[in-house]
Symmetry: C2
């Protein structure tokens, strides 16, 4: 397996934490997204969404979308971590919180960052007002996450799952890219972050 990535992006960070927890170490190829290397004709031939990360399984088989890559690697790697949950109810609760973190947290955070910073202004129209509105929606989601972590040890309940990885990367985007301070302001999120960082993969 070969992973095409730009390791510093949140989506690649998500996949890399997942791989680290499973102990999987694929061959790696760096794709410079900022300079547009992901728009080359070679990349167009192998990637359906032109983004990183992309997993090459063999010459003819490629997977994009971070969560699809995680699901594949999890399914082919014998392990007892159950990062997507175990029972039908647990699997559904992981999916539910994973989606809430993505749809109310990570995606608005990406939209806030891209529209406010204009980092990809060379290839997309940026609407600053939407960036500001998205940042407000991100800030409104933090108390929802805080409340969930007041009641549960991890985001989807009592076990570490992919929802924690997504929420961890979301908090990093809040703090580092959006100047939305979290640590120290939300005690339960702060304690959960501290616990996560004791696992390999989160600490790097």
């Amino acid at each position: 397996m070969k992973l095409y990535e730009m390791a510093t992006t949140p989506s690649c960070r998500r996949v890399n934490i997942f791989l680290k927890l499973l102990g999987v170490e694929p061959e790696r190829v760096t794709v410079d997204v900022r300079s547009g290397e992901n728009l080359s004709s070679h990349y167009r031939n192998i990637s359906a969404n032109l983004k990183v990360p992309l997993l090459e399984i063999d010459d003819d088989t490629h997977l994009c979308e971070s969560v699809a890559i995680c699901r594949y690697v999890d399914a082919i790697t014998p392990n007892q971590l159950y990062l997507f949950g175990r029972s039908p109810l647990e699997m559904a609760q992981v999916e539910m919180w994973q989606r809430m973190v993505e749809l109310q947290g990570l995606m608005p955070a990406f939209q806030a960052f891209r529209n406010l910073s204009g980092v990809y202004r060379d290839r997309e129209t940026c609407i600053e007002l939407w960036g500001e509105e998205s940042k407000k929606r991100v800030a409104a989601f933090l108390p929802v996450l805080e409340q969930q972590l007041a009641k549960h040890r991890y985001v989807a309940g009592s076990d570490l799952t992919i929802a924690d990885i997504s929420a961890f990367v979301f908090i990093k985007v809040c703090e580092n890219a959006l100047q939305l301070p979290v640590i120290g302001h939300y005690p339960n999120i702060s304690a959960w972050l501290q616990e996560l960082q004791q696992h390999d993969g989160f600490s790097a």
Copy 2:
């Protein structure tokens, strides 16, 4: 099982097609989202995201997020439809196309509709310019879907999956809510739609 829903919304339509394919018929409770019934204190007690649909499993257990509901019902219902895929690779490919349809199609379509129509202006800030930009991004995704359906019978490959349900609802939003005509303009999408409508659930 009890499903809280407003049947006409795209998210409820998605879950209802899924349930129909599996032959599952839960008890139903209508929630009038337009008038804000989903913001009542009773609903706040049972729903983590305040949206429809919501599945009540028992008095203390509720699932929100459409795909989480589908995953749960699929896991507890003996069936050989494999709507989330079968082998590790197929499951990952379903997840990949499901997410592409959601992130590049359905979510921008929702953002276009909500920001342009102002249907929830009483409870969210609408940015018309973002509505227009989102509609352009939706239009840019249609050729991607057309190309995939030129190569494959269904959205994620050779079998009917949840990615087809999501794409079907996406096309309906394009045609009915965004005035983006699809049928007749994209031959492969049009043929696929015609085939889908022969399945119970899609035709309603």
